[in-house]
Point group: C2
Chain length 315, copies 2
């Protein structure tokens, strides 16, 4: 049982999809929670200490983080697809901004910095599966290279300064609150297409395998990383299970009670064939395990989409 | 036999210690050579097309690189020791600046970008020796993290754009022209202390082992990386031989004909016990091998220092 009483945690990017779930988990574990985000929290989270603004405003960040002992860093200005076109801006916006925030956190007395890395991109192509943290890393997009670079600078920071850092390499999260925007989130995209009746493109033959994890398990992983006595520099957070897109579609349709109209398109070079995480380290070092089965997670997610449809919201 | 006839190579940082040797090697291999550096080339290199300025001046860089087919990138604004204190500035000055230069090079039609990485820092602690390119990388200083981050962005660039990139992980270079400035270069420091009669501090007991390589072999490695038909993204350039500091001192003293007065200081956490590179890939992929023995290299270096002393220059 994770307890975070007496902890004051700043969640940067707390109003996003993963962020809201993390905030709710931290609150239920007893933490005092503050949020910094460019957008507002939903009404049910109004008791959270909320600051609206950007992490690029370093003075605002310094004053917001002051008095917190832990930072959960979920802010991210780049996306897997678009970061490739201007690498030097990506380095500035993503790597430099994140490490500046970590340095300010340390200067303000923060004792632990928990960073959301990407289990789906840092490893790149690898025939060795499941992927363990010490395996070679060779990301094939800028988003993954930036995440990996940040991991290395954070590992270094925890050697140089009195602040522990941990990067959680999250696999493919899905769940309530995830919108099918900007090509992120296969489950969200499938449900949204099923409800709208529009045809969903699938690149390749649907045989690629991914490690899908329900967002509430991800949130529990972040809470565990805040609570653990010691943390390793890098920890995988995933289900540890491979699931092909085709098999996933076969589970989504009954969960939602609707067919997902799909059209197969030529495969993309950016899609690795298989990406499944070894989660032994998370079990041992954080005392964390995924608890939501795929069926249960999809059922919850489907209910959220159907409620949304009933309320007349199309996206 | 490397031939670079019909190649136009821009050497960024060509006026530095390694840069001058690279420029001479490229000229002797028949290349047309341009240099961009903040300092001037020595008089014997006056036939080189020389531009004085900084790589942070992107307009100047773009006009200088225009018309070149190859870039050798040796510029480096950071140093192993000092980069740790302000990581976000280090990211800007080192990683972003280098990748910006690579992106401009690609936009100007450059076909190959050869980057000087660091075999002495990217691997970090490793009991597996000699170090091969595919082994895990966990640098323990900011200089090494930046070099590794740049390597990953360059590897990505060569996937995304029609420009090949190769990062040469150079071990510990020494030789004529290396000054004992800013704590860089054990051989230079030892010779400089022997000549001045000042006591040289050695951190630890002198048992740490390094891979020392004569700078003319390093220069030949860069020329080979310019000339090769295809290049792997990362290649070690070293002697492949381990040499302890104590054993190296025993070779330096007879080469110079002077004793090196030393004083042993407590060991530093930043010094890994052993760092020796596996150079099989360089032999196979670049057709390159080190050719200068340690005795020969130290003899040449000693002669340079003694000539300098005879000319009345103290540093």
């Amino acid at each position: 049982m994770v307890t975070l009483k007496d902890k004051k945690v700043l969640v940067v990017g707390g109003a996003g999809f993963i962020g809201r779930h993390v905030v709710r988990q931290l609150l239920s574990d007893g933490a005092q929670v503050a949020v910094l985000d460019v957008t507002r929290l939903p009404d049910d989270l109004s008791r959270v200490d909320q600051v609206t603004g950007s992490i690029t405003d370093t003075a605002l960040f310094a004053s917001t983080v002051s008095g917190c002992d832990t930072v959960v860093f979920l802010a991210n200005s780049s996306l897997p697809g678009s970061a490739n076109t201007d690498l030097s801006s990506e380095i500035h916006d993503h790597v430099q901004t994140t490490i500046k925030a970590a340095e300010i956190s340390n200067a303000q007395g923060v004792k632990r910095f928990v960073f959301a890395s990407s289990g789906g991109t840092v490893y790149g192509y690898s025939s060795d599966q499941p992927l363990a943290e010490d395996m070679p890393t060779a990301p094939i997009n800028a988003y993954g290279v930036s995440k990996l670079s940040i991991e290395h600078y954070l590992r270094l920071l925890s050697r140089l300064r009195p602040m522990q850092t941990v990067s959680l390499r999250v696999s493919n999260p899905y769940g309530e609150g995830q919108l099918a925007l900007r090509n992120q989130g296969f489950v969200a995209a499938a449900m949204q297409h099923a409800i709208s009746g529009k045809t969903m493109p699938i690149w390749g033959d649907g045989s690629v395998e991914r490690d899908f994890i329900h967002v509430s398990d991800v949130a529990a992983g972040f809470a565990a990383a805040c609570a653990a006595g010691e943390v390793p520099p890098v920890v995988n957070i995933g289900s540890g299970q491979a699931l092909s897109l085709l098999d996933l579609l076969k589970m989504i349709e009954p969960a939602l009670g609707r067919p997902v109209p799909v059209q197969f398109e030529p495969g993309r070079a950016i899609d690795v064939a298989r990406n499944v995480l070894d989660i032994s380290r998370a079990r041992q070092a954080l005392g964390w395990s995924p608890r939501i089965s795929m069926a249960e997670g999809l059922s919850r997610t489907a209910r959220w989409w159907l409620d949304r449809e009933a309320a007349g919201r199309s996206q």
